[in-house]
């Protein structure tokens, strides 16, 4: 168990001096949970208001990006003509981006009700430029929403890296281990006025 403790009896002085006690519990496990689902690590640590902020912001951004790209902007591909480097950013979101790995390994992608080829890699070999399931066809049909969706989902993944670090190490501006430091040791040098 790891914690960053400071006296709770002292009031919050300013934004840069947050005198609060944070119990990080198991930081490695919390970091794993934070990667698995944005905010889950903080929820495990009992930092619920931050968990809600992270979940709404990061997961909401990811979902909105997927919506803009009709579920196709997040996909894993290491084919010769299509190295999807954005996925390295997107996978920072954790579990919500992992279906792309399953879809990439399948010959026939799993079909979903709303977005049929959800997170499936687009066709490259044997697809004509007017094929709606080809990479060219998707970019042509979605236009700038393809880029918007890619950027939104990638930023969500990158932001979650900050969240993971926060779950592991606590906030940057809290003061760690000041409990004993605040009590000044007796120096023995007090001046006494002798009559």
């Amino acid at each position: 168990m790891s914690s960053r403790t400071v006296p709770t009896s002292e009031p919050v002085v300013s934004a840069t001096e947050e005198h609060i006690e944070i119990d990080l519990k198991d930081p490695a496990f919390a970091a794993f949970l934070a990667w698995l689902m944005p905010g889950l690590g903080h929820w495990y640590q009992g930092r619920t208001h931050k968990a809600v902020i992270f979940f709404v912001c990061v997961f909401g951004t990811f979902v909105y990006g997927l919506y803009l790209g009709e579920g196709r902007v997040v996909y894993a591909s290491w084919r010769d003509n299509d190295h999807r480097l954005f996925y390295l950013c997107q996978v920072g979101v954790g579990l919500p981006a992992l279906p792309a790995l399953i879809q990439a390994r399948r010959e026939q992608p799993v079909q979903f009700p709303i977005y049929k080829d959800f997170m499936a890699p687009p066709k490259i070999v044997g697809a004509g430029p007017n094929d709606p399931d080809s990479l060219d066809g998707l970019q042509k049909r979605l236009s700038h929403f393809w880029e918007m969706g890619t950027v939104y989902t990638a930023i969500a993944g990158l932001l979650n890296i900050l969240v993971i670090y926060d779950a592991w190490g606590g906030p940057a501006y809290s003061i760690a281990g000041k409990k004993e430091d605040d009590e000044k040791p007796d120096s023995g040098g007090e001046k006494e006025d002798k009559p």
Binding site: T16, I53, G60, Y64, M148, Y152, L159, V163
Partner: protein, 73 residues
């Protein structure tokens, strides 16, 4: 130069609505970054507002520079 400036203005007019897509990103990036710096809600919000202002400022400066350059080409 006049026609280039006109094209720049037209492009801006056509694509100006795309700038709205930056708004949620600014809010989200500011909030998440600020929340990783602070622990309490009040410093988180004030830090997020400050950072959002910085981002908007940088975006405005970048936009002004690029717009001026594209107008002069």
């Amino acid at each position: 130069m006049t026609s280039a400036a006109t094209i720049a203005y037209l492009l801006f007019a056509v694509r100006v609505n795309d700038l709205w897509y930056a708004l949620p990103l600014i809010v989200v990036v500011s909030l998440v970054y600020s929340a990783t710096r602070h622990e309490l809600p009040q410093p988180i919000v004030s830090g997020a507002v400050r950072m959002a202002a910085w981002i908007c400022g940088f975006m405005a400066i970048g936009f002004a520079v690029l717009f001026a350059v594209s107008s002069m080409l």
